[in-house]
């Protein structure tokens, strides 16, 4: 029997074949992958995982592909760093950083979801990959498509910064700048996805694409010595990542790889785009879409597709949510870099800033095993910190001047 049973509607439960479908024909609810856990339990063990490849594909039994992986073979298995310095600063004994700044090949967690999406897309017979993106997702789709020899279309808003456009063009996809605002890009991409036989990774392939995020839960559980953390702090854009980390932990329990999962799942947003965290604060079970205005561009989704499910996940896991200002984002980036030597993009600043707040509020306690998810590399968003990291010391080429500046012992 196949390990994937069906696609299932998250709202009405109607089942569909495992094809390129993403919306329930009946109620228009989103679809997700349903697995044969009894079958998977028979073939997946801690030992089988530990003898697997050093990539996310060591968990392939719980990923939505039918054959062997073909695209994105090096994604995943990023370091889980015991952040002793940052932990001491925050008053946490067991703080860990899941460092997807070094994910391969494009230095963000998107390499996980794209590896899964395009492997599945190939299985479904697609020859063209596409996405609508302003940053990390476009980089990852373009890079993977180049390696796989697939055609690639990347749709971007017409006013995107030149550096970000370049980051895509280097892989030679067809980059389409759409005149108009963000909403116009959104609408057109949805329509194109309906018209063309393309693997639009975050539209018609979304049920498979989103499953790749579960590997961030699988890896953490394995790297902690086969236990679930007490707390996780997860940045939220669409909200999908947060819901899939929860799904992943629960799947490991379901197939017997974890005994107990009582993880509190906490969500982090930037105040300039915090529809989900605001709904949580106001005690609402629905969110109000917003127009994003934050330096944390990779989280700037004002009308998040999984916002409702993220709220449900946090409630179910007894976690919390909060949001931070842009200044707190920058402080978070600097704090992580200066304590742990990890340079995160702005989403990482959101996570660290929110972690600080949750510790201060007492939601995360000293002895909790806590994992903060850092999802992208700081080299991609250097403009965010360029004015807040100081300047180099400038001296003439003279030993005397050097010693005048830094003293005999070399300390300034």
């Amino acid at each position: 029997m196949a390990k994937m049973k069906a696609l299932i509607c998250r709202e009405c439960g109607k089942e569909y074949p495992t094809e390129a479908l993403h919306v329930c024909e009946l109620c228009f609810g989103p679809l997700e992958v349903k697995y044969n856990y009894d079958e998977i339990r028979e073939v997946m063990s801690r030992a089988s995982i530990e003898s697997g490849p050093k990539s996310l594909w060591r968990y392939k039994e719980l990923l939505p592909i039918e054959g062997s992986p073909t695209i994105g073979l090096h994604a995943g298995m990023t370091p889980l760093v015991h952040a002793k310095n940052l932990g001491a600063f925050l008053g946490l004994d067991e703080l860990y950083i899941k460092n997807d700044c070094v994910n391969q090949p494009t230095l963000s967690f998107k390499d996980r979801v794209v590896a899964v999406a395009l492997t599945r897309a190939r299985e479904l017979g697609y020859e063209t990959a596409a996405c609508a993106s302003t940053g990390n997702l476009a980089n990852s789709v373009a890079a993977h498509a180049a390696q796989a020899g697939m055609q690639c279309y990347v749709f971007i808003p017409g006013d995107l910064e030149a550096a970000k456009v370049l980051g895509n063009l280097i892989y030679r996809p067809k980059v389409v700048e759409i005149e108009g605002n963000y909403d116009d890009v959104n609408r057109l991409c949805s329509e194109i996805a309906g018209e063309r036989r393309w693997a639009f990774v975050n539209v018609n392939i979304r049920p498979y694409y989103a499953e790749g995020s579960k590997t961030l839960a699988f890896e953490v559980a394995e790297q902690l010595g086969w236990r679930a953390p007490d707390q996780v702090v997860v940045p939220m854009a669409s909200g999908s990542l947060l819901t899939k980390i929860w799904k992943g932990l629960n799947e490991f329990q379901k197939i017997g790889l974890l005994k107990d999962v009582s993880t509190k799942v906490n969500g982090a947003q930037a105040e300039g785009c915090s529809p989900i965290a605001t709904a949580y604060k106001n005690g609402r079970d629905f969110f109000k879409p917003v127009k994003p205005n934050t330096i944390a561009k990779s989280l700037a989704i004002g009308n998040p597709a999984d916002g409702y499910y993220a709220l449900k996940t946090v409630e179910e896991s007894h976690g919390a949510m909060d949001a931070v200002t842009d200044d707190e984002v920058i402080e978070g980036i600097k704090l992580l870099a200066q304590t742990e030597g990890i340079f995160a993009e702005t989403a990482g600043g959101v996570t660290i800033g929110t972690l600080r707040k949750l510790v201060k509020q007492g939601a995360i306690k000293k002895h909790d095993v806590t994992v903060a998810y850092i999802t992208g590399n700081g080299l991609k968003t250097q403009e965010a910190v360029v004015d807040s990291v100081g300047r180099p010391f400038r001296i003439p080429p003279s030993l005397v001047k050097f010693e005048q500046t830094f003293g005999q012992q070399g300390a300034a």
Binding site: F28, A132, T134, R187, S190, E191, V203, R206, P289, A305
Partner: protein, 79 residues
Amino acid sequence: MTKLRFHIRFPEEKIPEPVIYQIGHEYEVVTSIRRADVRETTGWMDVEFSGETEEIERAIAGLREKGVLVDPIELNVVE
């Protein structure tokens, strides 16, 4: 005949108005409501509009003119 799916949202002041009825009268589109949650202060519907593509686009523009927010069924797809 084209069928397109949308997520539409009503701001508080539009809740009492029979917007879906009006759209059916003003444009040659048929509306099928699949899911909805309308409360005192906010409301949304997942709908399918059937008709000629241009007429559906006119209906969408008409909804927006009335102050109703119209998004693809997938919500934000730009990531």
